[in-house]
């Protein structure tokens, strides 16, 4: 058993991040088999975050097998040719580390956080399960029950999550973003060994993966170790470009009502189909990112001002935009009405405010404050190597490049007030929108 290297060692806190900006701390290269590598140096603590991100998520699943990418993620903690079931996590724990994994529409990622001198061992085990898993029928049955309980916990027990699924399903007419990441229950119940192994063989290969190492590491040492452990795995020549069904023109406004006896606080939600960050063309997404800040992020934002302070028809108003996405994403609003205000009144007030915003435009002082905060966020980000690792991982699995990631803060600063209003006009199209009301069950309303 190993003891932690940090034990009893008086390390000097404040021996400094060597780099003065984030970009200076980042090194990127590619292995001979096509695996991309990003190294982020943060030498302040003798700890490393080791992550492998696959360019495969729930939106890459075959029709009828929703949830298989996430199911596979769970099963990668079972046995491989070289490891017993659970041995990988147990080994990480025995080295004083933590491990976990997560799945989204566009990616699946696995990570360990551990003392920096254990990096080689982590790579050895992660490389092993990239190509060597050995599952049993019992694994399938038991772990399928676990993911069903996970869906019960996250979704079935939560009317807001059920409502959100219905909103997404209505928003995307032809794209897999309309299917929940965890899967529809009736399809999860039928997932089997063939479904899992087929997804594994199709997507898990070094030339479909990105290695991200953040922390107290030397890029040349990472290259050496990565070549030993990941470089030994041959590229899969069958890895194909990601081809997804795309949205047809959206021409009909959609409205839905979700009723549930467990709803205590009704609210209205609106989503609009919106462009995402594209490689070399992030300007529209940058304007939408700032639009979300201008309209609905806290006390000074436009909707909060109009709905919470002036008209006092809402207890909460917010706007949300997630620009990192392989395909078209959404721009969302939520308004929680004040007591005595109907959902119709809340929705009408929101629409009136949005219409007025297109006339008023962006307050110059507000735009300055938002840009100041975005600049500051780059300073704060240097304190969080894990956050930087995820910034690169999510971007690179969503079609962006390292250059795009590093250009992004500058693109945000270049956005003008006119850009923001233009982006709002382009996105706020009712025919590409879904409006949902989350309501109490009818009997509960009397």
């Amino acid at each position: 058993m190993l003891r932690s290297l940090a034990l009893g060692t008086a390390l000097i806190w404040g021996s400094a991040l060597s780099a003065q900006t984030i970009d200076d701390a980042v090194t990127t290269f590619q292995l001979g088999n096509g695996m991309d590598v990003v190294v982020i140096e943060d030498r302040r603590v003798p700890v490393v975050q080791h992550m492998v991100w696959y360019r495969a998520g729930s939106a890459d699943e075959p029709v009828g097998e929703s949830g298989v990418s996430h199911f596979l993620e769970h099963l990668l903690f079972k046995a491989t040719e070289n490891l017993e079931a659970g041995e990988l996590s147990a080994t990480v724990a025995a080295n004083g580390g933590r491990d976990n994994a997560f799945t989204s529409w566009d990616y699946t990622a696995y990570f360990q956080r551990v003392a920096a001198d254990r990096l080689g061992l982590m790579m050895q085990m992660e490389a092993d399960r990239m190509v060597n898993i050995r599952l049993t029928e019992r694994d399938i049955v038991t772990e399928r029950n676990v993911i069903i309980e996970e869906r019960n916990q996250r979704t079935e027990n939560n009317p807001r999550a059920l409502f959100s699924e219905q909103m997404n399903a209505a928003q995307f007419l032809n794209h897999r973003y309309g299917v929940p990441i965890i899967g529809w229950m009736h399809e999860m119940e039928t997932l089997d060994m063939d479904d899992v192994m087929s997804f594994y063989r199709t997507h898990y290969a070094p030339n479909n993966a990105i290695l991200i190492v953040a922390g107290d590491v030397d890029p040349e040492e990472v290259r050496r170790l990565a070549n030993i452990h990941y470089g030994a795995i041959p590229a899969n020549p069958d890895i194909a470009p990601r081809v997804r069904s795309t949205e047809p023109p959206q021409t009909a406004e959609r409205r839905l009502i979700f009723r549930d006896a467990r709803v205590a606080q009704p609210y209205v939600q609106r989503s609009y189909l919106a462009p995402e960050r594209d490689p070399g063309a992030q300007e529209k997404a940058a304007a939408l990112t700032i639009l979300a800040e201008v309209l609905g992020s806290g006390t000074t934002s436009y909707l909060v001002d109009k709905l919470q302070f002036e008209a006092q028809v809402a207890v909460f108003a917010g706007a949300f935009y997630r620009g990192v996405s392989l395909d078209d994403t959404t721009f969302d609003f939520v308004v929680v009405p004040a007591p005595g205000v109907t959902l119709q009144e809340a929705e009408d007030a929101m629409d009136a405010a949005l219409a007025q915003f297109l006339i008023d435009g962006v307050d110059a002082d507000q735009l300055d404050r938002i840009k100041m905060q975005l600049r500051a966020s780059e300073i704060y980000a240097r304190d969080n190597a894990e956050g930087l690792a995820s910034r690169y991982g999510s971007a690179l699995t969503s079609g962006l490049t390292v250059k795009d990631v590093q250009a992004w803060p500058g693109v945000l600063q270049a956005v003008t007030a006119e850009d923001v209003v233009e982006a709002a006009r382009a996105v706020l199209r009712r025919e590409a929108s879904v409006t949902g009301w989350l309501m109490q069950a009818e009997e509960a309303m009397q």
Binding site: E149, R154, I182, T299, Q312, Q373, I379, N384
Partner: protein, 433 residues
């Protein structure tokens, strides 16, 4: 995003102290305010953590929720600035401040850029020392709190937590939610909030941690300006709770597909001489890793749940040993049975040498991983002060874990574990109860 395991809902108190690598220095300001400081000039900002002992337990009789609502109003108008003017001022400095009120403290977590640190601190001073409690702000934030309370009443986790607290803590403040009730919050007046502010934010219960781009001298001057105007003394903190937990199952009927269970018994306080053996024991039983006995038996072998955890919860005024699990209504009975069996097995058999070794290796090795960022370290340092662990605790903490023997764990297993007094509160429509 679908994490493989939800983060354990409660960080154990032992997860708070710091590790050997951090060089903490105690600073006393010219005005007599003590703070713990970790200097790090590599990034031009600092994190500042303030905690005021007492928290929502200071609520006066009939005024439940006053401290919580007061805390939510601190930055909704202060000094010469109304809520919106205050928010604009804070944004223009790109500073951030989070406020929270829990059973045991009010906490303030701030981040200041070096370039405008003094201006940001001056703004925070207004919120702490001169909150306006304007009537329109009170109504606005009151409605937000009431909206949250209505949601809690329909959330199985919140229902379970409320039912367990009501059962365990008698007439102590811990027995009810610090956010208050729909009725108590509706009745709070501006005078109640002014009194809650005067009682909670006082220097006699204040703890300070600072990390980042600031020297000791600069910090002393900053603290005197920031906190010097606060009253010397605050409201009396209530005495300890008389915790009574009897074995059994309480079902709270609620129409939802998955039943949520919260279980617990009495625990050890943080200063109990056997707290470390208990901490190691709990790690083995249900401490959050995939390898814990509860995860192995309930999830990995039987697929009965997505997550099952246990945790020691030594609060300032009571100590309990708690856990949680969630399973479909027709499977929760089996999960409860397995958890009961593991509780009894631990009480009678203790742990194996291999389990003890693995737990110690993990717990000592994982210690440095907690120091990921200025804010986190500032928070750890204030918790250390509140628990009276001493500034040198860091260097000896892992030795205390290493010193735990099989005999220690066996003694604790026999003394702490009370399988007959383990009580389950189940919210849902569980079959078999």
């Amino acid at each position: 995003m679908m994490k493989r395991v939800l983060a354990a809902a409660f960080a154990c108190v032992l997860a708070l102290p710091a590790w050997a690598g951090v060089q903490i220095r105690e600073v006393t300001s010219p005005g007599g305010i003590t703070a713990w400081l970790v200097e790090d000039h590599s990034i031009p900002f600092m994190a500042l953590e303030l905690r005021f002992r007492g928290g929502t337990s200071l609520d006066a009789p009939g005024k439940r929720g006053a401290t919580y609502l007061m805390t939510g109003l601190l930055e909704e108008g202060a000094g010469d600035l109304d809520a919106r003017a205050y928010a604009r001022a804070l944004e223009s400095l790109a500073a951030s401040v989070d406020y929270d009120a829990s059973d045991d403290d009010v906490s303030v977590s701030a981040r200041f850029l070096t370039e405008n640190r003094d201006e940001a601190a001056a703004l925070l001073r207004k919120a702490l020392a001169e909150p306006r409690f304007d009537e329109d702000a009170i109504e606005r934030v009151r409605q937000q709190v009431l909206s949250g309370l209505r949601s809690d009443l329909a959330d199985p986790n919140d229902i379970a937590s409320a039912a367990f607290s009501a059962m365990a803590y008698g007439d102590h403040p811990y027995a009810t939610d610090g956010k208050g009730t729909l009725d108590s919050v509706a009745a709070l007046t501006r005078d109640d909030l002014v009194a809650a502010h005067r009682g909670a934010l006082a220097r006699d219960r204040m703890f300070v941690g600072a990390v980042g781009d600031i020297t000791a001298e600069e910090l002393g001057a900053l603290l005197d300006k920031l906190l010097g105007d606060l009253p010397e003394t605050g409201a009396p903190i209530p005495g300890p709770a008389d915790v009574v937990i009897e074995g059994g199952v309480t079902v709270v009927p609620f129409d939802t597909p998955q039943s949520v269970a919260m279980f617990g018994q009495v625990g050890y306080p943080r200063d109990h001489p056997d707290f470390f053996p208990a901490f190691v024991l709990n790690h083995i039983l249900g401490g959050g890793g995939f390898e814990s006995r509860l995860m192995t038996e309930v999830r990995e072998k039987r697929g009965l749940t997505y997550g099952v955890y246990s945790y020691l919860l030594p609060k300032d005024l009571a100590a309990v040993y708690m856990g949680s699990v969630a399973s479909a209504s027709d499977r929760i009975a089996e999960a409860v049975e397995v958890i009961r069996a593991e509780w009894a097995r631990m009480a009678s058999d203790g742990v194996t040498p291999a389990e003890l070794d693995a737990a110690k290796t993990f717990l000592t090795g994982e210690y440095p991983l907690r120091f990921d960022g200025h804010g986190r370290i500032a928070s750890i340092m204030t918790a250390m002060q509140m628990q009276d662990l001493g500034i040198n605790y860091i260097a000896t903490r892992n030795d205390k874990v290493e010193a735990v023997t099989l005999d220690d764990v066996a003694r604790v297993a026999a003394d702490l574990m009370k399988p007959d007094n383990l009580h389950f509160v189940i919210v849902g429509q569980p079959a078999g109860f």
